[in-house]
């Protein structure tokens, strides 16, 4: 991979937001992943180059965080919370059902690469337990029936209905775009 011209411009603006450029490692890794769908070694090398860091340092940082996919995953990602409050509301049964319907196990993608299923820690939606996310969109109080229809939509490559909303439903700016609008920063030109 390499950053598209547009993303490269965004990357430079992200770096300029921080008092020290190394702080941009996580946001640039997010940007690389959002462009390619996963975080390739080349993507990490490019992030290192932009920030003037050793690639090994960026690899080490990326490996610490579970959201960075260092292998291509399924086209859609279903993340099921299996922590305490969700467990108390039946998330184990839910996970089993989803595995069964997908025909693939947690931590794997379906054979056609349609869906990657993962178990995640508390998603901070315990009031709506059991809950899960599909590509980052929350689904709460998920029943077995709802899970079936979520799985079926995801397998067809569609966005399941009944979710709590995605950034694109509300905003035109992509997630992770710089917080500081161009020309309005207080510390402009003072970064290192």
């Amino acid at each position: 991979m390499s950053f598209s011209a547009e993303n490269r411009r965004i990357a430079d603006r992200i770096v300029a937001q921080y008092p020290q450029s190394e702080s941009a490692v996580l946001p640039l890794l997010h940007l690389a992943q959002s462009q390619d769908g996963w975080l390739s070694p080349d993507g990490m090398r490019e992030v290192a180059e932009i920030l003037g860091l050793e690639p090994a340092q960026v690899f080490s940082v990326a490996s610490f965080y579970t959201m960075y996919l260092r292998e291509p995953a399924g086209k859609k990602i279903i993340s099921v919370c299996n922590n305490i409050s969700c467990m108390l509301q039946g998330s184990d049964e839910l996970l089993e059902r989803i595995e069964h319907r997908l025909g693939s196990k947690c931590g794997h993608s379906t054979s056609g690469g349609e869906v990657y299923l993962e178990e995640v820690e508390c998603l901070a939606a315990c009031g709506g337990a059991p809950c899960l996310q599909v590509d980052g969109e929350y689904f709460e109080n998920v029943t077995i029936e709802a899970a079936d229809s979520i799985v079926d939509s995801a397998m067809r490559g569609e966005r399941p209905e009944g979710g709590k909303g995605l950034p694109s439903d509300f905003y035109s700016e992509p997630l992770g775009a710089p917080s500081i609008p161009e020309g309005l920063g207080a510390n402009e030109g003072e970064g290192s």
């Binding site: 937001q17 921080y18 008092p19 020290q20 190394e22 702080s23 490692v25 996580l26 946001p27 890794l29 997010h30 920030l51 860091l53 080490s60 940082v61 610490f64 965080y65 579970t66 959201m67 960075y68 922590n83 305490i84 409050s85 467990m87 108390l88 509301q89 039946g90 049964e93 995640v120 820690e121 508390c122 998603l123 901070a124 939606a125 315990c126 009031g127 996310q133 980052g136 969109e137 929350y138 029943t143 077995i144 029936e145 899970a147 709590k164 909303g165 950034p167 509300f170 905003y171 700016e173 997630l175 992770g176 775009a177 917080s179 500081i180 609008p181 309005l184 920063g185 207080a186 510390n187």
Partner: protein, 449 residues
Amino acid sequence: MTEVLLTRISEPEAWRIDRYKELGGYEALAKALKSMTPEEVAEEVKTSEIRGRGGAGFPTGVKWGFLPDVYPRYLVINADEGEPGTFKDRELIEFDPHQLVEGTIIAAYALKVNWSAIYIRGEMVLGAARLENAVRDAYGAGYLGKNILGTEFDLDIVVHRGAGAYICGEETALLSSLEGQRGEPRLKPPFPAVEGLYAKPTIVNNVETISAVPHIVNKGGAWYASLGTEKSRGTKIFSLSGHVNRPGNYEVELGTTFRSLIDDYGLGVRGGNKLKAVIPGGASSVWFVEEDLDTPLDFDAIAAAGSMLGSGAVIVMDETTCAVRAAARLVKFFSHESCGQCTPCREGCAWMYKILTRIEEGAGRSEDLDLLLSVGSGITPALKTEGRMAMSEVLPYTTICVLGPSAVTAMAAPLRLFREEFEEHIRLGACPKAAGTGITTQDRKASRG
């Protein structure tokens, strides 16, 4: 219910800047910047006696007072909410992001900070977008950037997304992560207020703490301090989950009892079932039982009862719950989230999880319970083996941060409370409550009507 921070949450689209302003938003900012000095704002916060809402309950005004006269200094908002059972910060951010942005600007003014970051959990995709857009709109309105509201005050706020690591909620790990490193905690002292981001003085505060600041400025510290109890002022949002009829975030005056929270707000234990236990302050807290429910929601009262208020996550478990399974699930979490720096935590958590799993699966050995406690004492040497556990037993600890000690609590509190149930698992080679949580998702929906 006494709603201060949650007042706007049910208002349609309160996350939009125009709606927020219609509902009184950014009035506190104008008041602070135009009619108060930074010192006066800090003084109001001190007068409010608000204690940090992120878990430790440290008085915010006192923490702010620790900043040495060194510049630049930074303000970092902790929006990494990951303590199992806690979901208040996500709602505050998704439904009222400008409240947090306004609080951050006012706090930065009081602290003489010109650069601030809001570190938000990576999984909170919608929340992050809400915040990014709120910040952009605040720039557009002249609330951020150079010469805010025509004053000499300049400030940038950057929304910074985490990437999936619970430990980054711990303030020093958060700062490591914000510096572009692995999220590994650092030894304290030095505390971040003295040596934080880029080794500069840094205040780290929770979302809920900072979201209270506009209200404190608007109505005065004394007003805020008139709510709650003597040592626990104000209101606090409690995230109620588990086996209650109506889970949710409830903002109440501190001093309300657990019983009232569960019965009056949560409408009681589901299906009229008997209560088994309550995790009163997030996964890291010592479990409560029925007889503890008259304890007021107050930092000191809960501590005196042997547990902690923590992040305000109250997890209710009814009589169908298997204590071994619940303990195993909590310890699994800590084991998975250990950053791996300290051997007692890295090895100890994994070991405790392995033992708990084999007990749960019916392959436990008779010596396993003592073994669990002994592994725990490798992390927290003062851990006792009998009687109800008290939070004070996790001091001292052999690790850099308290993640490892939290896992010890998650194991030892249920083990010592329900030792017979653990023994029965080992004796029977199976769970006496065979069906585990005892209910499937469908049953639950049916029982809810």
